[in-house]
Every structure is written in structure tokens, then in C-alpha cells.
């Protein structure tokens, strides 16, 4: 089967994010663009969520722990009909519908974050609860490499393995850049995959922009029976917009009208 639909959806998400950062005169576009392909596959294929029944108790729980990239989820939800697309025009604005960091006040958003290291512990609690209820729901947490600096993330990594939460999947959008620089120069996450494997998770490295690899990894959860799954998605910060790609500046870059036009041209129709 083709992966064109993912590309199409990811392009929409990228353009929506650029547009939101432009209207909101806000940052974090690099973090959104690096996640866009992961989000596209999640919302196009993987997640069992329904805009007509957003509180379905049997839904999958998706928590974005890297809450600063909230707009990437807002874009997917808007495109999937969870709320009117016009709301994106109010992102970050006075009396707007969409706040900068992801908010559960937005239809379809499972959980609010914005301070790193909060997502995975809560996912562990939800995974425990849903396992006990014998639900098929999966709990998926998308984290940043910055998230992996937080001690609370590692507390949860140890706990999830100890309790065998095989309904839990953590994906790291490993774009190698955090707020002030390259991760290797701040807190080097080298060997992240094998470290987490040592902690007792089923692990896999994928190219976070390769739809086939993303789909393959997320279609066979858990990777190992009885273990939580850790997917290290190697990505490029600012992916899809040449002047943002792999730059520290893309974390806080302002998307002016001029840059917006240039970026949209690169992504194309």
C-alpha cells in the first residue's frame, strides 16, 4: 500500500502549524515539524479516537508530553474534525481557543502538559487502570529528547518495566536539539535505546520521517509481550522547511509573513 496519504496529512499538519505560529507570533515550530510525520501516522492510522465520541471509554489514550508542540496535535485534531479549523486562527491569541501548550480544554486532547517530564508518569497510571479494566486501549506518550532529561521520566521508565505495562508505548521525537542547543552538548542521550532496553522495555529505533517504519513500529504493539514499548524516532528538528531544519533557532523562531510564504512554498500543495 502507498504512504501518500500520510505525506498528504503531514503536509497539512505542517502548514497548519506554520500558520498557527504565524498568527500567534509564537515559537516551537521546530518541535512541531519534527513530530509532524509521527502525528500524521498516529491520527491517520493508529489511534482509535473518534471526533463524534471523544470520551469513548474504549479509545486509545494519546498524551503529548512535549506540550510545547501542542499545535501539531491541534492541527491533526482540526483536520480530523474534532473542532472547527477556524479555531487555528485563534492560536495563542487573546480570547483564543487554543493555548500555546497543549490543553485538555480542547476537544480531542487527552491531557494538558507544558512542563516536561509529566506525561509518562500519568500514562503509567492510565495504563495500570485500563489494564485492570481489561480494556484493549493503548496508551501512547510522545516525548521530546528534553523530556528525557527529567528525572520523573526515568522514574516512570523504571516503574513501567517493573509493572509490565505492555499497553504503554513511549515515542521519543529524538530531534537532537533542545531549547539551548544540541542534546549532545547539553545532556548527551547517546545510547538512549539500549539504556531503556536495559531498564526492561521493548525498544526499537526508527526513522521518524519514514512512514513505512513509523507504521510498522506502531502496528505491532507491544514490541515484546509483557513489556512497555519504547520507540526512538530519529527526527530532524524543523523537518520540511529548509531554513528551519536542524537549527537550534527553530525552537523559538518567529514565523513572519515572509517566512510563512517561503515555508508554505517549500511544502507545496
Amino acid at each position: 500500500m502507498g504512504y501518500g496519504k500520510y505525506k498528504e496529512f503531514a503536509d497539512k499538519i505542517r502548514k497548519d502549524c506554520l500558520y498557527m505560529c504565524n498568527v500567534g507570533a509564537s515559537g516551537h515550530i521546530g518541535s512541531m515539524l519534527s513530530s509532524a510525520d509521527l502525528i500524521a501516522v498516529l491520527y491517520e492510522k493508529i489511534l482509535n479516537v473518534d471526533p463524534n465520541y471523544p470520551d469513548d471509554p474504549d479509545r486509545d489514550r494519546f498524551i503529548l508530553s512535549k506540550g510545547h508542540a501542542g499545535a501539531v496535535v491541534y492541527a491533526a485534531l482540526a483536520e480530523k474534525g474534532f473542532f472547527p479549523k477556524e479555531w487555528m486562527g485563534t492560536y495563542y491569541c487573546d480570547n483564543g481557543k487554543l493555548m500555546g501548550h497543549i490543553s485538555h480544554h480542547v476537544p480531542g486532547v487527552e491531557y494538558s502538559t507544558g512542563s516536561l517530564g509529566h506525561g509518562l508518569p500519568v500514562c503509567c497510571g492510565k495504563a495500570l487502570a485500563l489494564k485492570k479494566q481489561k480494556k484493549e486501549s493503548r496508551i501512547i506518550c510522545l516525548m521530546s529528547d528534553g523530556d528525557c532529561n527529567e528525572g520523573s521520566t526515568w522514574e516512570a521508565i523504571m516503574f513501567a518495566a517493573q509493572t509490565g505495562l505492555d499497553n504503554l508505548t513511549a515515542i521519543v521525537d529524538y530531534n537532537h536539539i533542545q531549547a539551548l542547543g544540541f542534546t549532545k552538548d547539553i545532556i548527551n542521550l547517546k545510547g538512549l535505546t539500549s539504556k531503556v532496553a536495559q531498564f526492561g522495555w521493548g525498544v526499537v529505533d526508527i526513522d521518524g520521517h519514514n512512514y513505512q517504519e513509523i507504521e510498522e513500529a506502531l502496528s505491532h504493539l507491544p514490541l515484546e509481550k509483557g513489556k512497555p514499548t519504547f520507540i526512538v524516532a530519529h527526527t530532524v528538528k524543523g523537518k520540511g522547511v529548509s531554513f528551519l531544519e536542524n537549527t537550534v533557532a527553530s525552537h523559538y523562531a518567529h514565523i513572519s509573513d515572509e517566512l510563512l510564504e517561503k515555508a508554505l512554498q517549500e511544502i507545496g500543495d
Binding site: C124, A127, A129, L130, A156, F159
Partner: protein, 307 residues
Amino acid sequence: MRKAFNKTLLEIAREDSRINLVLADIGYGEIEPFANEFPNRYYNVGVAEQNMTGVACGLGMEGNIAVTYSIANFPTLRCLEQIRNDVCYHDANVKIVIIGGGVSYGPLGVSHHSTEDLAIMRALPNIVVMAPCDIPEAIAATHAMIEHDGPVYYRCGYKNEPNIHNGAIDFKLGKAITVEEGDDLTLFFVGPIGIEAKKAAEAARKRGIKTRLVSMHTIKPIDREAIVAAARETGKIITVEEHNLSGGLGSAVAEVLADEGALDVKFKRMAFPDIYVGEVGSQEWLRSLYNLDAAGIEKEIYAICGV
């Protein structure tokens, strides 16, 4: 009091299968009955209070009542942002219980003194803040905590707290309980230090001063009516708490007095004077060192009454 709490929680858990206990490797000798009886509702996350609180939040958001439990500041200050961003902001059904409010663990030192907790927890939206004073209150407060849908902070004592109430109590969340009637002054207290207030009031009564003694077991929401009535009817208010001066019971009472324009009142806050209690000693000894014992409170009663 911790025994009464644990026993009551276990009894409620037998009737209410939603209750889960989430620990961070604290509770030796106390939590085993729950762990043994409900192994599927008991989690020890290890020494990891942030994860304890996050896990509890996740459980609480999926139809459970999650109780976190530890001593002193471990389940509050160590994981304060998890309480704020996760539990309170999401209004998750999580109950945060500490054992050893104030300087219950006196000689263990400053790390084990919870003397800012009431102020800090009270500052968070969506949470109820309680601190029972004796066993009957502790039992009633445990029931009230579970019955309340949403975040609760429960500051438990430690051990050997004497009864303060004179008989059966009518415990309602957010509603102060009058222990003794009186119209010369009002003594508001929170928590087991109330026994010192009670002794002081009894001594003063022998000299003809009739103290209205009130247990303010819930700091948030606070009983505004009881405070305004105390100001109007007794004209003098002393607050007593095993906590620092900033932001606790005394502050909460002062805020209500100011808000309600009930400022024509003599007012004294008794608490630790905005310090870390660095001296080595038992709870009883530390109370006396800082004039928070019965003798110290009695002196303040006479001072405020001008006798």
C-alpha cells in the same frame, strides 16, 4: 492517628473498590494490611514521589480514587508541580496524605518537618486542605476525603494524639467544629496542636476567661461564617497551628477578617516564626521552645484579654 487513618482507609476500601493506594516506599508497619488484602490496588513505585503522583493522577482520571501516602513533605513539596499541573489542574480524583504534620517527627530534623505545607497546598486551585486534630476527626476526615470527588490534601498526625473533642462530632468538610463555647475570645486551631490550645483554654477558664475553642480541620475551603461570628461575638481571635507563620491557618483567618471587613478585632497568630526548626527535640519539647505549648498559649490569652 496514622493507625486510625490506615484502619479507616482499609475499611472504606473494603466497600469501595475504586480505592487504590500509591506509595513511594514509605509506610512500614502501617500499610501492610492494605497491601495484603488488595494487592491489585496497591502500588509501591519506589522512592519516586513525582512518579507516585503522576501514576495516581492517571489512575484517578480513569475511574479510580488514588491515595498517595508518605511522610512530611515527600508527597507534597517533592512533587509539587505534579500536584499542580497533573492532579489539581486536571481535577483528578487523587488524595494526598502525609503522616507527621508539623514537627511530629521532631528529632528527625528539618527535612521531616512539614511546616509550610498548609500554605503551599492552600495556594492551589481545586484542592481541599484538611488537617484533623484527633482520632475522631481523623476517622471522619478520611470518610469525607473519599466522599469528596476531586483532589484532597490530608495532613495526618503521627501517634498518641489525645482526643480533643468531648464527644461525638458532626464533621463536615469546610465546617469548623466548636469544641468549647465561650464569648471572651476565640481560639482557632488546626491539627493535633489543638490539645495545647484546649489545655490553655481550660487554665484560663479557671481565671474566668471563657474561650470559644474551635477546630478548623479544613483550611480550604475555610469556614468564613465561623470566623466572622468569632470576630463579631468574641472580639478577640488567636490562631494556633504547628506550621510557619506564612500562609497557614492564621493567614487564612486574617484574609477572611479583612475580606469581610471584620477588622474591629484583636488578633494574634501563633505559629513558628518563619524559620526552620533547627533545634533537636521531640514535638512536645519543640512546641514549648517556641511557646506553642499550653503555657505559651495561655499567656497569649491573658495578653489579648488584657489581664
